[in-house]
Amino acid sequence: MASALINVPPRARRGEIIEIKTLISHTMETGFRRTQLGALIPRDIIRRFVCTYNGTEVFRAELHPAISANPFIVFSTVAVESGTVEFHWTGDNGFAVTQSAPILVE
């Protein structure tokens, strides 16, 4: 099971731009590498990352094999209301992880 680290400020002023950092453990096997016997190692990557803020999508990324192992993504959003920020990673071989973080907007 993959583990994800997310960094969302727990509280923010209304209208403030907050920076969100996410890190998830995943090998991001490119599908271009070979074993010592010459067999191609099949691709196994995270294809998609979506961030929703109280159910509304605020950020989305499509990842390709050129993203490093343990994908690290930094982006920002405007703190509009208190609630939950949710993160979804989906990828090859049925990979799906969801994490959420609460945010208090004053």
Partner: protein, 158 residues
């Protein structure tokens, strides 16, 4: 006597081969500066026929990269990020990786600031291109030339 001659011949041949390789790599490097067709194709698939203007985007990569497996990459776009004028998407492409696409970010006015960062793999010394799409449909780009000493993707697995 016979052995010595063969060794000398071998060394001479090896030296010649090395010189040939060196010359070959110089010859190979020159045309690579021109944008390879595959990356152009990948860019056109995203952009369509629209013109791509230089400016507004800032692609930040270290110029000298020791390890191509995890290269910090930051894209910053000068945009007010309002409902009427914001960045819709940011795409990153490379010339010499096995695939030209690296990542596509989709943003909107809710982002507040058009600045994203991640870590990428780079297979070789090459040019990396970032293209952003604004809400008015225009495309802007920036490029960065990087030197990679340890390439990603080349080491053997398991």
């Amino acid at each position: 006597m016979q052995r010595r001659t063969s060794r000398r011949e071998f060394l001479r041949a090896a030296g010649g081969a090395a010189a040939g390789l060196g010359l070959g790599s110089i010859v190979a490097v020159t045309p690579a500066r021109a944008t390879p067709a595959e990356m152009q194709e990948a860019i056109r698939r995203v952009v369509g026929a629209a013109p791509i203007n230089p400016g507004r985007v800032k692609l930040d990569l270290p110029p000298l990269i020791e390890n191509g497996n995890a290269v910090p990459l930051t894209v910053d776009v000068a945009s007010p990020m309002t409902g009427a004028d914001h960045v819709r998407a940011i795409h990153v492409f490379t010339q010499k990786n096995p695939q030209p696409n690296v990542v596509s970010f989709h943003l909107g006015p809710r982002a507040g600031r058009a600045r994203v960062a991640t870590r990428v793999r780079l297979a070789d010394s090459q040019t990396v291109v970032a293209i952003c799409e604004l809400s008015d449909g225009s495309f802007w780009s920036d490029r960065a030339d990087v030197v990679v000493t340890l390439a990603a993707c080349l080491e053997d697995g398991i």
